[in-house]
Every structure is written in C-alpha cells, then in structure tokens.
Symmetry: C2
Subunit: 168 residues, 2 copies
C-alpha cells in the first residue's frame, strides 16, 4: 500500500467510524482529509478529492467549524476560503467531548429533573420505583457530567502544557 492508497483507506475508515459516533460519513471524511492534508484546502479541492457536491461540502465544512475542529484560513490575494483541521488529536477529542456533553448529556439532566420534579403521590410502590429509576439516572448523568467537565476544564488550564504531554 502506497501513500495515496493509505490516505484513501484512512479517509474511508474515518467515515465509517464517524457513522457509529453520530457524525455523518461525509463530515467525518472531510475531517479525515483535512487531518492529513499538508496544506489548508478550499471547497473545490475537497469536492474534487471526495467526489461530493458543493452543497454537501459547504454544509459539512460549516458543521465541522461549529464543532470547533476545523477552521477557516484566508490566504492573501486569494478570494477563496481555505480550511484546516486541528492536528492535535487530544484537542480534537476534547472539543468533541465538550460538544457532545453540551448537546447530549446536559439535555438528559434537564429532562430527568423535569420528570422527577412534577411527580405527585410518592406513596405507592409503582410511583416510588419510577422516581427511584429516574433519580438513579439523574445521579449517574451528574457524575458523568462532572467528570467530563473536570476533564475539559483541566485540559483548558493547567494540563495542556504539562502532564498530558506524557500521553502524546
């Protein structure tokens, strides 16, 4: 397998993995492409490389920017927009965690609180069992939420320059 084939394989695999992570295939493929691109790329280059339409490229690039793992780069004397991906995998993972925490975990907390709150008669066994389950989930989600928040905060401050370098 030569470099070109390996790159193809990488992009392809990243697309498959993305799917099982709630990220659509194209979005993951664009991310993979930018991750291994030596230079920032523009929309046309991405379209050409992945054989996708302009609309599709545009939409997914925006989404990657929203996730905070791709950014726009402007080249002087060129009207086209170029895009580049964060290359540090640890940072990428942190951003994704942060985003997923916000989009998925936080809503669970809110909903569980609501459901538990508006519950009336706590006497009968069925109601008690229900409240107990919801409370358990709430407790667990809080634990997870706090753990992630801690990890993210740690990374944003002190960890960045020091301890975590060990993992790289």
């Amino acid at each position: 397998m030569n470099l070109a084939e390996a790159k193809q394989q990488f992009i392809q695999s990243w697309g498959v993995f993305g799917s099982s992570w709630g990220i659509n295939r194209t979005m993951a493929q664009i991310h993979a492409l930018l991750l291994i691109a030596p230079e920032a790329m523009n929309a046309d280059e991405i379209m050409e490389e992945l054989q996708i339409s302009r609309g599709n490229a545009n939409m997914n690039i925006r989404e990657l920017i929203n996730w905070g793992i791709v950014e726009k780069v402007l080249k002087p004397g060129d009207r086209k927009e170029y895009f580049t991906a964060e290359k540090d995998i640890w940072k990428v993972a942190m951003r994704i965690m942060k985003e997923r925490k916000k989009r998925e975990l936080d809503p669970i907390l809110t909903t569980m609180e609501q459901i538990r709150e508006v519950e009336g008669n706590k006497k009968d066994a069925e109601t008690k069992a229900f409240i107990d389950t919801v409370s358990q989930i709430q407790k667990f989600a809080r634990q997870a939420d706090n753990a992630l928040a801690g990890l993210i905060k740690a990374d944003e401050n002190w960890f960045t320059g020091t301890l975590l370098k060990l993992f790289k």
Copy 2:
C-alpha cells in the same frame, strides 16, 4: 403531570437520547419501558404500549439482549417469553461501554495499525506527517481503550460491592 404522563415522557425522551447515542429510537424506548416496568413484560404488552409491530418489537428486544441490558424471563405455566431490564444504571452504563468499546474502539485500533504498518518510504515530509497523524490517533485510541478496559475490569471485580456504592 401524573405517573402515566411522566412515564410517557420518560420513554419518549429516552428514545430521543438513544438516537444520538447510536441506538435506534425503538430500541431505546423498549429499554426505557422495561426500565420502569414493575414487572417483566412480554412482546404483546410491549407492542401494545409502544404501538409497534411484532417484527419491530422482536428485533429490538433481541438486540437489547445482545447488548446485555435486557434478559429473558420465563414464567411457570406461561408459554410467552417475558423480558426485564437491568435496573442498576451503573451496570447498564458499564455494559454499554464494554459493548461500544468492542464494536467501535477496537476496530479503530486494528485499522490504524494496518494503515501505519503498510507504509513504505518514511523519508519525505508528506509521508512523515501522515504517519505521525495516524500514530497519534493510534496512541490516543490505545489510551482510551486501556482506560475503559480498566474501568470495566475494576467494576467486574472489586469495585462492584464496595467503592462504587458511594456513587449511588
């Protein structure tokens, strides 16, 4: 909101959350239903409650069993199969983690190893950058894999009865 409404709301929400976790809506709803059911339920009851077809119910119940978070219960004198969900949320989370690790993380490791392995000329800058990115991902995935494996193992042995009770 009364108990019935709260249950409905819970099942509905769990379905939505499931979607963003790579679990389909019906599967998550069945899980939610069993999580708060005082008794084990059979396929007909589940179909009736969630208004879904027999095929759909059957398929998703099997899948929940594969994930290890629902199990079959037989009642003496009744030919129907009944189903019940693991009620301990910590255990549920552990089983899901274990399963996702196996289905998602392990394949990434395998693929990254393959891609990195079959790479030839390590001299030019582009190749080097590519190998570096893949290596970084590999390293990160290994870290995550080990961390999860540790957590799972700990839970399966010693933790279960002792330390983690603090979190409940």
